[in-house]
């Protein structure tokens, strides 16, 4: 899965890479960014650049006074083993869910508790901080997600299969960054269910009465 990165055509934007490097994105967006980067060396390299920029910004920050005993206090923390580094959790290599996502999803596609959202599409909302939301979407092969627009930004990362919308075709590893101008109607390609990781920092807006009523109940 991670070796077909040459096929990735749709990448993260500069503001998202910079926001991730700076540590200022909502957790839901960080999850999409970290998952895409696990699949995409182009963006992995780009992130390293934005982190280098962050290092230079920090170097240029006006130095402030630190406590007189700061060095001694830090050495005491080191000697006492008081600063614990969290080890990386064990991760499966053969999962459709890349490493960072495995920390949020326990199980595989067929063992998860999907909830139907209409038209054959189902979702699983993942638990993150409240400033944005993120969900897995399962779109049966050949099926369309109800037409919707956005108030904020929506990131859609393809984990399996592919979808096509008014913009382009998005295959495994591709990420679509949609702003509020885009009303799109993604259709999953035939042959395989399309699994996506989708994050948004504002509720989606479905066009048409029935989806809008459904939205109240399903909360997307």
């Amino acid at each position: 899965m991670m070796n077909d990165m040459k096929q990735i055509k749709h990448h993260l934007t500069e503001p998202l890479l910079m926001g991730y490097a700076a540590g200022t994105l909502p957790e839901a967006f960080n999850l999409v960014v970290a998952t895409h980067i696990t699949m995409c060396d182009t963006c992995r390299a780009a992130l390293a650049e934005y982190e280098a920029v962050g290092g230079e910004v920090m170097l240029d920050a006006e130095p402030v006074d630190i406590a007189e005993d700061a060095l001694a206090a830090t050495l005491a923390k080191i000697d006492g083993g008081l600063v614990k580094e969290t080890p990386h959790p064990a991760r499966k290599a053969d999962s459709v869910f890349p490493g960072p996502l495995q920390d949020y999803v326990s199980g595989e596609i067929d063992s998860l508790k999907w909830r139907k959202v209409g038209g054959g599409v189902s979702q699983l909302v993942l638990k993150t901080s409240k400033d944005a939301s993120v969900r897995l979407l399962r779109i049966p092969a050949g099926t369309a997600v109800p037409d919707h627009g956005h108030r904020g930004t929506e990131l859609t990362l393809v984990l399996q299969g592919a979808f096509t919308d008014e913009e382009d075709r998005f295959g495994t590893g591709d990420v679509e960054v949609a702003n509020e101008d885009l009303h799109h109607k993604p259709v999953a390609e035939k042959g395989m269910d399309c699994i996506c990781l989708a994050a948004t920092d504002a509720p989606l807006r479905f066009n048409g009465l029935v989806p809008r009523i459904a939205q109240r109940f399903i909360g997307i």
Binding site: L31, E51, E56, V57, A70, R91
Partner: protein
């Protein structure tokens, strides 16, 4: 076997490399109106040597030198990111302790010490200030031949220095916007689609290092 490994590790960035870095830097690469001086490149290689001294021999004087330079800047970054002085002080000490604990993970072919410390501070900021979980990309596993290449390490250190100089040469307004983005004063939707950052040669250097890593894994 252990001794052999340690000896190898110690040989990674010897003084000769620092000298070579200085020689290369004396070619005085022009960046904007500024020049990358031998001193500046030396400073970055000196940080690398200090981190390696912590890794290899728990060298406290190397640590105190890094501490004296970086702690006031880490604290400043955290305060500008919204931490109170007390919290920033506490976090800064933890960031520096993490530098000690993770010195073995630092790779000078992939990052300057300033970049690496920044990412540690950034992570601590998310943990403590924002109290959020922090999804991270899966690390690339190190292949058998992925030992950092010395020329690449020197190249990356120099190019990070050049990046810093090029950023300093940006028009005030543009530089301020970049700083505000990193201090968390701009949301992702407020950051310009094209940041116009002078990423220059560091771009190809970082890609090269990644490609080598991928190649070594096959």
């Amino acid at each position: 076997m252990m001794t052999e490994t340690n000896a190898l590790a110690k040989a990674k960035v010897p003084a000769a490399i620092v000298a070579k870095a200085a020689t290369v830097a004396q070619q005085n690469v022009k960046v904007g109106k500024r020049k990358v001086t031998a001193d500046a490149a030396n400073k970055r290689m000196a940080w690398v040597v200090q981190v390696n001294a912590i890794r290899d021999s728990q060298d406290r004087s190397a640590f105190s030198e890094l501490f004296a330079y970086f702690a006031p800047r880490v604290k400043s970054f955290l305060m500008k990111s919204g931490a109170s002085p007390d919290l920033a002080e506490e976090c800064t000490q933890e960031v520096m302790a993490t530098l000690w604990n993770k010195a073995h993970m630092f790779d000078p072919a992939k990052a300057s010490v300033s970049t690496w410390i920044f990412t540690i501070a950034r992570n601590r900021k998310i943990d403590i200030l924002r109290k959020q979980r922090r999804p991270e990309p899966e690390d690339l596993p190190w292949g058998p031949e992925a030992e950092p290449d010395q020329a690449e390490a020197i190249g990356l250190q120099q190019e990070t220095e050049q990046l810093g100089k090029a950023m300093a040469a940006l028009p005030d307004e543009q530089r301020k916007l970049i700083e505000r983005a990193y201090f968390g004063e701009l949301s992702h939707s407020e950051i310009a689609a094209e940041t116009g950052l002078p990423l220059g040669t560091i771009k190809s250097r970082i890609r090269l290092a990644l490609d080598r890593l991928r190649h070594a894994m096959k």
